[in-house]
């Protein structure tokens, strides 16, 4: 049953996996002396076709742009193939995260009276939708909801978070995170609805994502004016740390407390190698995500691999960004701090 409907796309994704940079690629890339060398090396990989026509003075941002293009290319292919019903919705859901970012970007841009075209350039290509350009014209949340978002899937999330509040009164970051929380919840609901293996693997990864967000929000809101209740409101309603861990996180006042909360949760094993650096926590989470994602490829007949593919691509972009920035800034000894090899 699965193969008749979604077999082709699954095979395509599995084919794309071969395009990831491998551990030996990363070790080779670490030997590069200049960004130009990185570019040269990457032309022999899947990025070759995107990189070869670029002009010579290479900047790290160019490499990042090309990697992003790669993701967009792959996903536009998925769109092109026109997946059968449950999968097509699933694929759309993958993009909602970017959509939220884009909407928030447009709204903040509009509040600061910036040019709409200029803002559109900044938007993430995966999160584009038809009516996004008209976002620049809105002035309050209700209008935003009524005119623009009503056709988009995001509208439900808006309705869930903010009913009558004025746009200016809501902190844009809280808005973003509330939207994201609603999105995660909805995605979780969808994957559970799909049932079977998909539900199983997606539950695992989405719980992880929810927990990571909770931890990140906690770490980033330490020492800010964000109140304890507000903080807890931003946490997702599911996840391995729900509800006890989240309650503890909401009470945290410094980094050590966060660490101890994590150690008491299901994530005790991932924190073992981490020290007290904030950077390391992020890296540990990324590593765990990569691990979980690549293990998804071990199983067949589920949609999780699309999610995993996207996340791994994101990580690869991060890797290359980190690598090329390190080399461009002559900080090669820091490379190991950021690069997580995927396979």
């Amino acid at each position: 049953m699965f193969n008749t409907k979604d077999g082709f796309l699954e095979a395509t994704v599995r084919g794309c996996v071969g395009g990831f940079l491998r551990t030996e690629d990363y070790s080779n890339l670490q030997q590069c002396e200049t960004v130009e060398d990185i570019k040269l090396y990457l032309t022999s990989t899947d990025y070759g076709s995107l990189l070869q026509n670029e002009a010579s003075p290479t900047h790290p941002s160019l490499i990042v742009r090309c990697c992003l293009k790669k993701i967009v290319q792959d996903f536009s292919f998925f769109d092109l193939v026109k997946a059968a019903e449950p999968l097509s919705t699933f694929l759309q859901y993958l993009k909602y995260g970017y959509m939220i970012d884009n909407i928030v970007l447009m709204v903040t841009g509009a509040m600061h009276e910036r040019e709409v075209t200029e803002l559109l350039d900044k938007c993430h290509p995966l999160g584009m939708f038809d009516s996004i350009a008209s976002l620049g014209a809105v002035s309050n949340l209700r209008e935003l909801h009524r005119i623009v978002l009503v056709d988009t899937p995001i509208s439900a999330y808006f309705g869930e978070c903010f009913r009558d509040e004025n746009l200016d009164e809501v902190n844009i970051e809280i808005l973003r995170n509330s939207l994201y929380k609603a999105y995660l919840k909805d995605f979780f609901r969808l994957s559970q609805m799909l049932g079977g293996l998909t539900a199983e693997v997606m539950k695992e990864i989405l719980c992880f994502e929810a927990d990571r967000r909770a931890v990140n929000i906690t770490i980033n809101s330490i020492g800010t004016e964000l109140s304890r209740d507000d903080r807890q409101k931003l946490f997702s309603d599911f996840g391995h740390m729900h509800p006890e861990g989240q309650r503890d996180l909401a009470l945290c006042r410094d980094f050590e407390q966060v660490v101890s909360v994590i150690v008491n949760s299901t994530y005790q094993n991932i924190l073992q190698k981490s020290t007290s650096e904030e950077m390391n926590i992020d890296k540990v989470f990324y590593e765990t995500e990569v691990m979980k994602c690549s293990s998804m490829f071990a199983q067949q007949f589920h949609y999780g691999i699309f999610y995993a593919y996207l996340k791994l691509r994101e990580q690869e972009v991060r890797n290359l960004m980190w690598l090329s920035e390190c080399i461009a800034q002559d900080q090669k000894y820091r490379i190991v701090d950021g690069v997580i090899s995927i396979f």
């Binding site: 990140n216 929000i217 980033n220 800010t224 931003l234 904030e278």
Partner: protein, 279 residues
Amino acid sequence: MSTTNRLNVVPTVTVLAVVKNRLIGAQRGYKLLKKKADALSLRYRQILKKIVQTKLSMGENMKSASFAWTEAKYVGGDGIKHTVLDSVDGKAEIRVRAYADNVAGVKIPKFNACGSGSLIGASGGGSGETGTTTATTESKSELTGLGRGGKQIQKCKKAYKEALQTLVELASLQTAFLTLDQAIKTTNRRVNALENVVTPRLENTVSYIKGELDELEREEFFRLKKVQAKKKKDAKEREEKEESLSKGEGVVKGEGGSGAGPVGNLIDFANEKDEDLLF
């Protein structure tokens, strides 16, 4: 000691006094300017040392700042850039204030970075104040990257703030350096001019006037000697004449009477005049 290297003055005693006064003035000015030049070059060297230090730390700061940005991008994704950009409200959070510092009478411009709060900024300089003002403005952007990368953004912000501080300091030092350089050049030129042109010229003038006065005195002395010698000679002649006159009065009576009368008168006249001169 050529005639060109002195003032064109009439060699008199009054002028000598005037020139001597000027010489003393020049010497005092030279000493003062020399002190000023020394003070300036002392400061100059201090600033030079500081510039080298600041430049070195500048490299470090910039490096760590741009790396902090890389870290933020790594954690927060590339899109975080726009979030940060959009949360800027067009008001400069750090302003540079310029004021003048006084070193040995030379006004040296100095820059000071201070926070946007104009009240706090006006209350005094120093880097301590920036800490207090940023705390008030931070609350607006502190939630940036709440979902991911917030800590890194704050770190990046701090790093760039430090880099900016160093940059302002460096600019201040560089400007001070240039101004001091100019001032030192001018002062040194003045010192050298006083030392090598004005003072020797005045000294030459003094010695010239002294020489001229001596010359006059010697001339006078010589003239007096001459006059005295002439007087002595005349007196002797007269004595001799009187002697011979008294010996053979009868023989040259008519002759002597008619000839010696005006001569004697002349001598008498000269004598009287000499007396006048002598006294």
